[in-house]
């Protein structure tokens, strides 16, 4: 009964935000062109990196394309859900409208994370899937049950980690009020997810696996595609994802205690 209530509310969210976003139709077209150009640009950049000897960090060009594909999908998800919603938190807090969210008889995290949707990100997700299918063909990936389930698990864990990172940073708004720039920092770090982790120096690799687990987000799912991943890495990713989800939830509830409404 509870779940069906949330589902019902979510379909309403979808309906209203799609209706308002589709007002700007040319905008969606421009965003689609942006997504395509940005994919072309990053493949172009990759091809420059592979000019020298065809390997970076032990990855071949065709293999590195898988990372691009996964990155594009995750970026699409970020643009569809995380970015429009979580930047809204900043506005809620600055203008004091978070009060109205907290008064609603529904979980505040649910409301705040899923209220809006940006349809142009979906095009990017589709683009990413196209690239992935192309990669599956050129890398001759075996499509069997274990591969499909493992890649599904790892990509969902990546999404959870990504969501928690975004949510975590947006939550800090409760204390710092303006976090646009912190989001900008997160964005620039996430940019690293376009490249195989092994292509960085040892110290950066440690940094990107412990402090900001960007390594987990794209590299491990790509290794699953290539059949290179060890079981412990996948288990570790699941563990990290769970830890991140729980801490971000706890952090939100903790932050709400310090919330003092603004200007109302």
């Amino acid at each position: 009964m509870n779940l069906s209530k949330y589902l019902k509310v979510y379909t309403k969210f979808l309906h209203t935000s799609l209706a308002s976003e589709l007002e700007y139709k040319t905008n969606i077209l421009v965003d689609l062109i942006t997504a395509i150009l940005s994919l072309i640009g990053s493949i172009f950049l990759l091809s420059i990196f592979f000019q020298n000897n065809g390997y970076i960090g032990g990855w071949k060009f065709e293999q590195a394309l898988i990372i691009q594909g996964i990155y594009t999908i995750l970026n699409g998800i970020t643009n569809t859900w995380f970015n429009p919603n979580l930047t809204e938190i900043v506005k809620h807090i600055r203008e004091g409208t978070l009060d109205f969210v907290l008064l609603k008889p529904i979980d505040s995290q649910f409301f705040i994370s899923l209220k809006k949707i940006n349809p142009s990100g979906i095009l990017e997700i589709i683009l990413g899937f196209f690239l992935l299918f192309f990669c599956i063909r050129i890398n001759q990936v075996n499509l069997n049950f274990s591969f499909l389930s493992l890649s599904f698990i790892t990509i969902s864990c990546s999404i959870c980690i990504l969501y928690s990172l975004w949510f975590f940073i947006s939550t800090t708004t409760i204390w710092f009020v303006k976090t646009w720039n912190a989001i900008e920092v997160l964005r620039s770090f996430l940019y690293i997810g376009r490249f195989p982790l092994n292509s960085f120096s040892f110290s950066l690799r440690i940094f990107f696996s412990i402090f900001i687990p960007i390594a987990f987000i794209t590299t491990i799912p790509s290794e699953v595609f290539l059949g290179l991943s060890q079981l412990w890495k996948i288990l570790l990713e699941v563990f990290v994802a769970i830890v991140f989800l729980i801490t971000s939830r706890k952090f939100w509830l903790f932050a709400l205690k310090s919330y003092s409404s603004a200007s109302s």
Binding site: Y24, T26, N27, V30, D31, I33, T34, L37, S38, G41, S42, F44, L45, S47, I48, F49, Q51, N52, Y55, I56, G57, F176, K178, W180, N181, A182, E184, V185, R187, S188, Y191, I192, F195, S199, F200, S201, L204
Partner: protein, 244 residues
């Protein structure tokens, strides 16, 4: 501007992508194919970071917000073009950003002591000039895009579209010399390599055509400025105050 110290520090940190790129370049010995030593490459990326810090432009986002909120109306009555207001804001923030950029450069030199160098004063002045010209080009391009607000309301998505070629072709992620020949043949005719690659090469002491680069920058400014004037006068005629 000093009110927002933390924000500006974060801004400075968010510009560190060139260093990650440098890490990929040196860690995989990618410089072998383009005949640039590791030290010169690290100087290049440090300079690219600096040039980027002092040529970032966000006028379209401020203008869009002001336009949608109807704040532009009072500005329009004033005898000064409102873009001067944004221009002054940008300059003020660049000055505030300077110490943070220096701190990041300091850390960079701690990790890469061999790449310390001191450019001679002539080169330093020329590269400051060319960085400022690069800022002007970007400011003009974005102002032109911002004027599209008068027609479409959401000009920032056009700016995001334009940002993609700027990101990949300006030399922020890879120096233009490393680009394949089929791109190099036409890229020097576009404004992109003069935004970051040219000033960064100049400052870091890499090989570059100084007079050619500077004259291309000035040429682009002379091309863009009349365009901006035109679109501004057309746009203000079209303007209908919103939200007020």
């Amino acid at each position: 501007m000093l009110e927002y110290r933390v924000e500006i520090a974060l801004w400075a940190i968010s510009g560190i992508i060139p260093f990650f790129m440098l890490n990929i370049w040196t860690n995989n010995n990618l410089n072998e194919s383009i005949n640039i030593s590791n030290i010169m490459l690290s100087r290049y990326f440090l300079c690219a970071f600096f040039v980027r810090q002092f040529s970032v432009v966000w006028v379209v986002f401020s203008f869009e917000e002001d336009c949608l909120m109807g704040k532009i109306s009072p500005y329009l009555i004033q005898p000064l073009n409102p873009f001067f207001r944004y221009f002054a804001q940008h300059l003020a923030e660049q000055i505030t950003r300077f110490p943070f950029a220096l701190i990041i450069a300091f850390f960079f030199f701690i990790f890469n002591p061999e790449s310390i160098w001191i450019p001679n004063s002539g080169i330093l002045i020329l590269s400051i000039v060319s960085t400022f010209l690069s800022f002007l080009i970007q400011f003009l391009i974005q102002s032109i895009v911002a004027c599209l607000c008068f027609w479409t309301e959401k000009a920032s998505s056009i700016e995001r579209l334009l940002f993609i070629p700027t990101l990949f072709l300006s030399g922020l992620l890879a120096p233009v010399v490393s680009f394949p020949a089929y791109v190099k043949s036409w890229i020097y005719l576009t404004p992109f390599p003069y935004l970051i690659d040219f000033p960064a090469n100049l400052l870091s002491g890499n090989k570059t055509n100084i007079s050619g680069g500077l004259s291309m920058q000035i040429l682009w400014i002379f091309l863009l400025f009349p365009l901006f004037k035109k679109i501004w006068s057309e746009g203000t005629k079209k303007y209908t105050a919103m939200g007020s």
